[in-house]
């Protein structure tokens, strides 16, 4: 089910945008197949219409042709054959879709907050951008997105990806750019007056150039460090311990919590992921950690979406091994205690991993991706739950 396991014929379809992501050739191949079918049937029908119209044109004003009532064989043929063809399209389309939304394990995380009418990006290393997103070529980039107002939709035609950004929740999107360059980024969901102005560019750079670009923003604190600052300012630390050795506070200790399963009041457990942390900040009692009092106040209207994402980055960095597993893994106590991290990973440790450029760039989209925990289906099965 993974992108790498299906070899994609290299098709280039006329009138299509540049192919600049690993996903693009898949969509173009599907497009070529669909075009072929469409052209075949449209030509067939048009040809038949023209031939019949000429051959059987009315020659006498009063002629009445012999009636033909129908044929079961024909009816079944043109019911079943199209149905079978349609099913092949379904399978192909669905598997492509699955790939597009199956967010990979390890990826460079970028947080995206949309608002009327701009895109705000925040890198883990702290750089913030508006309407421009710099990414290294050949690295997997995972976007965790939300919006401060209405629904928007992040669309990069050259990557063939699109995902609505919905208020009140996180949606995710990932891509791996295969070609350096600057690509258009659009808002595809109508969002008000300046909808058509809500766009920009994704700038795909060579890893070294990207490193330089990152360094150019020197002085920028990492997202986690910004989150840590917020964490102190808002007094979170008075209840939430961030040091594994410390005394359990009135709220759960956050060290190493991200990616685990947390037992909650009532029944069951909940995976500690971005959405759960967001929910717990805005609506602390919705899923109360087991054994704690419902005393935390809501921070709704006190922190904005960007700040929540910074807090998430911070909490996530607690107890993470050096730049290790950044995806939320729950299996086998993954992401627990390795590495002596103190709060707030330094920019360098955060930066080093996701950038490891493993895929040869320019035009060969399929091969090696960053190392993953399992391979293929095993990795999928492990991912959550």
């Amino acid at each position: 089910m993974l992108l790498t396991q299906v070899s994609v014929p290299q098709v280039s379809v006329p009138f299509s945008p540049e192919q600049a992501s690993t996903f693009a050739p898949h969509v173009d191949a599907l497009y070529a197949y669909l075009l072929l079918i469409t052209i075949f049937f449209s030509t067939l029908i048009t040809l038949l219409l023209v031939v019949f119209a000429v051959k059987y044109r009315r020659r006498q004003p009063d002629e009445v042709p012999r009636p033909i009532s129908g044929s079961m064989v024909l009816e079944l043929t043109w019911t079943i054959v199209p149905l079978l063809i349609a099913m092949t399209i379904f399978v192909w389309g669905a598997s492509t879709y699955f790939k597009a939304y199956r967010v990979p394990h390890q990826a460079m995380e970028v947080y995206v907050v949309a608002k009327q009418w701009m895109w705000k990006f925040q890198h883990q290393t702290g750089q913030r951008e508006i309407n421009e997103l710099h990414v290294p070529v050949g690295a997997r980039v995972k976007l965790t997105m939300t919006t401060e107002d209405v629904i928007h939709s992040l669309y990069v035609p050259a990557f063939r990806i699109k995902q609505d950004v919905v208020p009140g929740r996180y949606t995710q999107l990932w891509f791996e750019a295969t070609k350096t360059g600057s690509y258009y980024l659009f808002c595809a969901e109508y969002c008000g007056t300046n909808h058509s102005g809500m766009g920009g560019h994704v700038i795909v750079m060579e890893p070294t150039a990207y490193e330089q670009w990152l360094a150019g923003g020197a002085g920028a604190e990492s997202a986690a460090a910004q989150g840590q600052k917020l964490f102190q300012e808002r007094g979170c630390a008075s209840c939430h311990q961030t040091d594994p050795a410390g005394q359990q506070g009135r709220g759960p200790t956050l060290y190493g919590l991200f990616g685990k399963q947390q037992a909650i009041e009532g029944d069951g457990t909940v995976a500690v992921d971005e959405s759960y942390i967001r929910e717990s900040i805005l609506d602390p009692q919705a899923k109360l950690a087991l054994g704690f009092q419902p005393i935390m106040p809501t921070f709704r209207n006190q922190v904005n979406e960007e700040q929540i994402l910074q807090l998430i980055a911070y909490i996530r960095s607690l107890g993470q091994p050096q730049g290790g597993e950044s995806g939320g893994t729950a299996q086998g106590g993954g992401g627990t205690t390795t590495g002596p991290t103190t709060g707030g990973a330094s920019p360098t440790t955060e930066r080093s991993n996701p950038l490891a450029p493993t895929s040869p760039r320019q035009g060969n989209p399929s091969p090696q991706l960053p190392p993953r925990v399992g391979q293929g289906g095993a990795a999928n099965a492990n991912r959550r739950q």
């Binding site: 199956r102 995710q172 959405s275």
Partner: protein, 100 residues
């Protein structure tokens, strides 16, 4: 086709059944079955509805066409409810996109 006149006795029996079922549903609500409370309440409600439909609304004595209409309105209502549920019930299966 002459009109089928439903005897009054049937109306009164249905009425009594409806009252009894109303009492039952109120009583059942006091017993904590957990999620089963909803199932019980809805089963009773559907039973009551069937009684009203079949006897008060004469569906039992009506043409097949009326049966088809009644069946199809429930079918369409179920389409609306169940197909929307396919989205909400499977959202958490895939990615971490849980709603706050």
């Amino acid at each position: 086709m002459s009109v089928h006149i439903v005897p009054r006795k049937i109306y009164f029996s249905v009425f009594a059944a409806l009252l009894v079922l109303t009492g039952t549903t109120v009583f059942a609500a006091t017993i904590p079955f957990g999620r089963m409370n909803d199932v019980v309440a809805m089963t009773i409600a559907v039973t009551k509805m069937m009684l009203v439909l079949l006897f008060f609304m004469h569906v039992r004595y009506s043409s097949r066409l009326i049966w088809v209409i009644v069946a199809s309105m429930f079918f369409w209502l179920l389409i609306l409810l169940l197909l929307t549920l396919t989205d909400y019930s499977s959202r958490s299966w895939f990615g971490p996109t849980v709603i706050t």
